[in-house]
Symmetry: C2
Subunit: 416 residues, 2 copies
């Protein structure tokens, strides 16, 4: 019987590992609790009505349908039994010879998990359609609200966290409410909405070069986003947030500030860092159980300089490919590759129409040319030719018309 390689999680790490094992003399089983792989970097565009869910999500079974040795299991993992080498799902067990844990990360509220109800984050399609609903419903309620102060509260949107996700989300909300919806209401003027981006640190996009942070901040401000730096959020409730002693009332709060690894460290009873990420060796294996790899946002990996690698798609993909190469070599009786090495090609973030910043490390770009690079890169990396085409078309349409196509309030009674 061929060895059984089990991959938990079909995000960038898990899926890249599974695909690269197509020719492995092994049975590859991919377990995920959802039936789709999600292109998370564009999830905020679903939340801001620019894209449809199916534009950025592809069914895992479809992606792996032609890979003969791949099996897909839709299931919710509740634990891992290292002694018996089985992954425990709610109602069954999946045995493994080799295990790749790539379960990603969740939002973390720095010990205030009760904030999750008031300041949701964006991790899956349902999060995004719910947030789209909250944003559009806030304006619908404002249109019917007789009290001026309550109306202004409903028309205030707060984004917590000034990293790439927070910056892109704030820019997209500004474009949605101030441009796309500008003519849609009769009582309120959506262009008078406030969008406030809160960052606890001294600048937005802290992982980019300081000159790009400054450029992104100016671009956001041109789009009408107010930026509050050096302000940690000390409270979230249903009517707003507290920045230290200051109260900011708002209709919608979006959390883009912190993540916590999935509970894999508990399943594995493994050492982990403060964000819950499992400490792994240079070959991404678990110390003490060499049949188990941990990759992506679930793993704490340091580069040669000892700096932790960021929780981004490129790290996860490269780790997934590395583990697949390692296993292919091992199963073929060849020497395994040396320690994992991350190649940092840089990062990029858009602020909205015609403006992005790109930090290639050896070169920095900002403005329209960077925005063009951003569009091409994101379309290129989208899984599946169909999705690339659909996204390109939605974007060209939005660019030419200033409109947003996916402005639907779904998932429940709009009046709830």
């Amino acid at each position: 019987m061929p060895p059984r390689i089990v991959v938990i999680g079909a995000g960038f790490g898990g899926l890249w590992a599974a695909s690269a094992l197509a020719r492995a003399p092994a049975q590859v089983t991919v377990i995920d609790e959802r039936n789709y792989h999600l292109f998370q970097p564009l999830l905020y565009q679903v939340a801001t009505a620019g894209l449809s869910p199916a534009d950025i999500a592809a069914p895992i079974r479809g992606i792996l349908s032609r890979q003969r040795n791949a099996h897909v299991v839709l299931g919710h993992v509740v634990g891992i039994d290292k002694a018996r080498r089985v992954v425990r799902l709610r109602d069954r067990e999946v045995p493994y010879d080799w295990l790749i844990v790539a379960t990603g990360a969740r939002h973390a509220y720095f010990g205030h998990e009760e904030w999750a109800a008031f300041a949701p984050g964006l991790k899956n399609i349902d999060d995004a359609t719910q947030l789209r609903r909250r944003i559009l419903m806030a304006l619908e309620r404002a249109e019917q609200e007789p009290d001026a102060r309550a109306r202004q509260r409903l028309m205030t949107f707060v984004v917590v966290g000034g990293g790439a996700t927070g910056v892109e989300t704030a820019g997209a909300i500004a474009e949605l409410v101030k441009v796309a919806l500008a003519r849609d209401f009769r009582v309120i003027n959506p262009a008078m909405s406030r969008i406030i981006l809160i960052e606890a640190g001294p600048r937005v996009l802290p992982s980019f070069a300081p000159s790009l942070s400054a450029a992104a901040q100016r671009a956001l401000e041109r789009h009408g986003v107010e930026i509050r730096l050096g302000h940690p959020v000390t409270r979230c409730d249903e009517a707003g947030v507290m920045l230290g002693e200051e109260r900011v009332e708002c209709g919608v709060t979006i959390w883009a500030a912190g993540v916590m690894a999935s509970p894999a460290a508990q399943w594995l009873e493994a050492e982990h860092d403060l964000a819950g990420r499992v400490m792994v060796g240079r070959d991404l294996r678990l110390p003490g159980d060499h049949q188990i790899f941990v990759i992506g946002d679930t793993a704490s990996v340091r580069d040669e300089a000892g700096k932790p690698l960021p929780g981004v798609a490129t790290v996860a993909k490269q780790e997934g490919s590395y583990v697949a190469r390692w296993l292919l070599a091992r199963l073929a009786g060849m020497p395994v590759p040396p320690a994992f090495h991350y190649r940092d090609y840089g990062e990029l973030a858009t602020v909205g129409r015609n403006f992005a910043v790109v930090d290639f490390r050896w070169m920095k770009l900002k403005g329209r040319i960077a925005w063009f690079v951003w569009c091409v890169a994101h379309i290129y990396f989208l899984i599946g030719f169909r999705n690339r085409l659909a996204v390109a078309m939605d974007w060209i349409w939005a660019y030419l018309t200033f409109q947003r196509g996916a402005r639907l309030i779904t998932a429940g009674d709009p009046e709830e």
Copy 2:
């Protein structure tokens, strides 16, 4: 102050009336409980993973944003006070001088409303994404089911009702499970799924010419759909349906058999037919209250021969346009148009790839040419240029690849 025309419902009837009143010297208020107009004839394609919700839905505010005299209210109507001339929403009232009631229809289970939980129908986007979820989850469960009989039950899909909706839905499910998903599973073979179309009457598509009914039936059977004619459903439960004394076990049941008008007749305390449709005069006004029009699926209107008009989009649109013409004339002090006359251009239904039937009354088409007519007609009638383009692209893609792009299980935990 200009007269206040209030339209309840932004379906085909209400939206066509409101748009045609663009130049009326009146304030036009459109009330709907959802924020989107839905192209219902293609809703089954969202349920069968061919299209995304935003492809067939357009925000009402967006459609009317440039119509200066139009106001949109997102709200749930709970009653109409004819004496005081106000529409009552949950938390406020909207006064009117003229009222157009276009609230559409809901599913009806012939007195067995408890069947709704087991055999849902398709009326809005949430219904469609829920049904998509049920269909895809039935196959996921079958893949993990050890018992052969339970597996076959999960792989059986029952469509109740052989009208255009039922025929198109059955054909689309057959294409989804037997073609698009054919390679996706490792344990089950989705091509072995059973799709059963149940019609109480003697033929499918009863409103089409008998030769077209027969052609559609043969095409469905070629696609692998089993057709059971002359069998009324006598029971629905979570594991299947009863046809008279016969038990059919299935994983998913879809209701396309009967509709009931929305509760407008109760709001209006008006005379209605057995399907709850309000009896109106030849000018679509309510007998006894000449400020109120009732149109679309909410109204019972008969043609010159005394035959009731069907509950289809073209009837609703023509009625909406008629009421707008009537009001424009009246407000201008001109003679109002004579009694409403329905122009029947015919009807069409597709059975899947390369096959449709078109009954133009003066000409009948079937097969590939009819399918082409069907595609062109549906794309043409879709609201909004963007949606037309998106749908055309999804269809071309599906045609060339046999794939389905929108195969996402969303709205809740897939394992629920």
